[in-house]
């Protein structure tokens, strides 16, 4: 059973075709990495799937439901949560408030203008669980803009996790992190994925992270999928070698 299926997904920006006829199938519980050089269309693919902007053409199905052209706030309700390439937080709110707002979105009564203390309590409880998973509990009451860059990246993942998504989309989770930070992020992510229920799509530049986490890899190049397979296949693929000259060996 495929949890996510993209059919001929295409996105134009004016004359530029950022995505061309992308077909992608992701199985339930799979960890999929999407790799490719800068400007290959990785973030565009993310944005088109989760509704930051509508795709020009093509379709997207999630759990068998057509989610093409839906707004991003509605897509969350189906069980897709994501992080952004550039850190995207509520800067002056505390860490726990950041996550609570995220987890609250999936609760009944998230909009209640009066009362609703049980909703808030539940949101906070879920936030605490997410904090534990990402080992951020000590930072819970600090304003998020005082955190280190690495912790801010983790906080964003915690926000997404707290929504109990079926599909988690991570846009370069280790971007701008030091070697140590990257290693600890990978460890935390591995821990998170060990249950095997969560499906993950991951955009990542660091090939070590990719081969560490991913079960399957899709390679994007100039808006097209040029290869798709398990890590060994992709490593060996001639097309990928040509498009992505020496990228793997360097990393």
């Amino acid at each position: 059973m495929h949890i996510l299926e993209c059919q001929k997904l295409t996105k134009h920006f004016g004359a530029l075709e950022a995505l061309s006829d992308v077909d992608m199938k992701v199985r339930k519980g799979e960890v999929r990495a999407v790799i490719g050089p800068n400007g290959a269309g990785k973030s565009t693919l993310f944005n088109a799937i989760n509704g930051v902007f509508p795709a020009t053409r093509g379709k997207c199905f999630f759990n068998g439901k057509d989610i093409t052209g839906m707004m991003m706030q509605d897509i969350v309700k189906f069980g897709i949560s994501r992080t952004f390439q550039l850190t995207n937080l509520f800067p002056e709110l505390s860490v726990i408030e950041n996550i609570s707002i995220a987890s609250q979105a999936k609760l009944k009564g998230a909009w209640l203008p009066l009362g609703g203390s049980s909703v808030l309590a539940e949101a906070k409880h879920k936030a605490e669980l997410a904090l534990e998973k990402l080992k951020l509990t000590d930072l819970a009451y600090l304003p998020s803009n005082t955190l280190s860059h690495g912790d801010q990246r983790l906080l964003e993942i915690a926000m997404a996790i707290s929504q109990d998504p079926l599909l988690l989309m991570l846009d370069e989770p280790t971007q701008g992190l030091s070697v140590e930070e990257t290693q600890s992020t990978v460890d935390i992510l591995k821990d998170l994925l060990s249950s095997g229920d969560l499906t993950v799509i991951l955009v990542e530049h660091d090939m070590e992270v990719v081969f560490n986490l991913a079960e399957r890899i899709s390679v994007l190049h100039q808006g097209r999928i040029i290869a798709d397979g398990d890590p060994e296949e992709v490593k060996a693929s001639k097309v990928v070698q040509d498009a992505y000259l020496g990228g793997f060996e360097d990393a």
Binding site: Q73, I101, L112, P113, T146
Partner: protein, 321 residues
């Protein structure tokens, strides 16, 4: 606990005011409370959602004219008039705020201003209805319900305004601490992220704008039976700026701050404008100083200081840059 103690003291103090100040001074005290309520209503938008409305006068003016017209034409008991007028003004605000909250930032400010000006212009268009530039004089405070004439007296009206202010404050406080209020703080900090987390941001902005207009209309509706008239000045755009000053100087995002800002602004204006011509000059300068150096406002400064002295490091992290 501390909060309820403070609130109780404040209420008790307010109840005693008519016995402490001369009768004629009650006029200005009532006006101060009405403006406190008006400023608090704007705080829902400015302080909690960071939507800068420059047309908040529209809510005030709509409320004021609604209650004036209801009293002139139907002579309904004054407390009921206030509820009805607030309801009518809020209904008018529903489509207007829908359009305004499609935008953000500067466009929102300009759009709200435009609607307020449109309302102002309409006062002159429908002269036979609104009295044009003469306004509507001779507004009374009809007695009732149940033959009650308590609210007709100045002191009685004071207590009614006080009751409305306290009730509104408690409702607004509940709103900003509710799940809905948490989403507002998300929109204030990062609108796009809030949307990405699964909230229909437009609707949240729309609803908070309606609520803000509702409490603004309430303050306007309270004004006319107290003042005895409605006039186009109640709809003039400079009032939107004045009430924004009250919110910022009082402390946006605190509810209490704007109430205090509104009350003290009116009291000070009354006291100082008789002594010196420099009053508007002074408050303009004070306002700019607050925007530049103390964006957290008077109440914000006060709570930061009291928090620091409480020596609770885990919660004292709310610093403005």
């Amino acid at each position: 606990m501390r909060f309820w103690l403070l609130l109780g003291t404040a209420i008790l103090f307010s109840i005693c005011i008519p016995f402490m100040v001369p009768y004629y001074a009650m006029t200005i005290v009532i006006a101060a409370l009405i403006w406190g309520l008006f400023a608090m209503s704007l705080d829902l938008l400015v302080g909690y959602t960071r939507l800068y409305s420059f047309g908040h006068v529209a809510s005030y003016g709509l409320g004021a004219y609604s209650s004036a017209l209801l009293i002139l034409h139907f002579d309904i008991p004054v407390p009921i008039t206030i509820f009805l007028a607030t309801g009518i003004a809020t209904l008018i605000a529903v489509p207007i705020t829908w359009i305004c909250t499609r935008t953000h930032g500067v466009s929102f400010a300009m759009l709200t201003l435009a609607f307020a000006q449109l309302g102002y212009a309409m006062l002159f268009r429908f002269k036979e209805f609104t009295g044009g530039s003469n306004g509507l004089p001779g507004i009374t405070r009809p007695a009732g319900p149940f033959g009650l004439d308590f609210f007709q007296s100045k002191i009685g009206y004071y207590y009614m305004v006080l009751a409305f202010l306290i009730a509104s404050f408690l409702i607004c406080r509940n709103i900003v601490n509710s799940p809905f209020g948490k989403v507002l703080s998300g929109i204030r900090e990062n609108e796009m992220k809030t949307q990405a987390l699964g909230y229909n941001v437009r609707n949240y902005k729309w609803f908070v704008a309606i609520m803000s207009y509702m409490f603004g209309s309430l303050s306007g509706a309270l004004f006319t039976p107290y003042a005895g008239f409605a006039s186009p000045e109640l709809f003039f755009w400079l009032i939107s700026g004045t009430v924004l000053i009250m919110v910022i100087v009082g402390g946006s995002g605190t509810l209490i701050g704007p109430i205090i800002g509104g009350i003290f602004f009116i009291l000070l204006e009354h006291e100082l404008s008789e002594i010196t011509q420099l009053w508007p000059l002074a408050f303009g300068t004070v306002f700019i100083m607050f925007v530049l150096f103390f964006p957290q406002g008077i109440w914000g400064i006060f709570t930061t200081i009291s928090k620091k002295s409480k020596s609770n490091p885990s919660e004292s992290g709310h610093a403005h840059s």
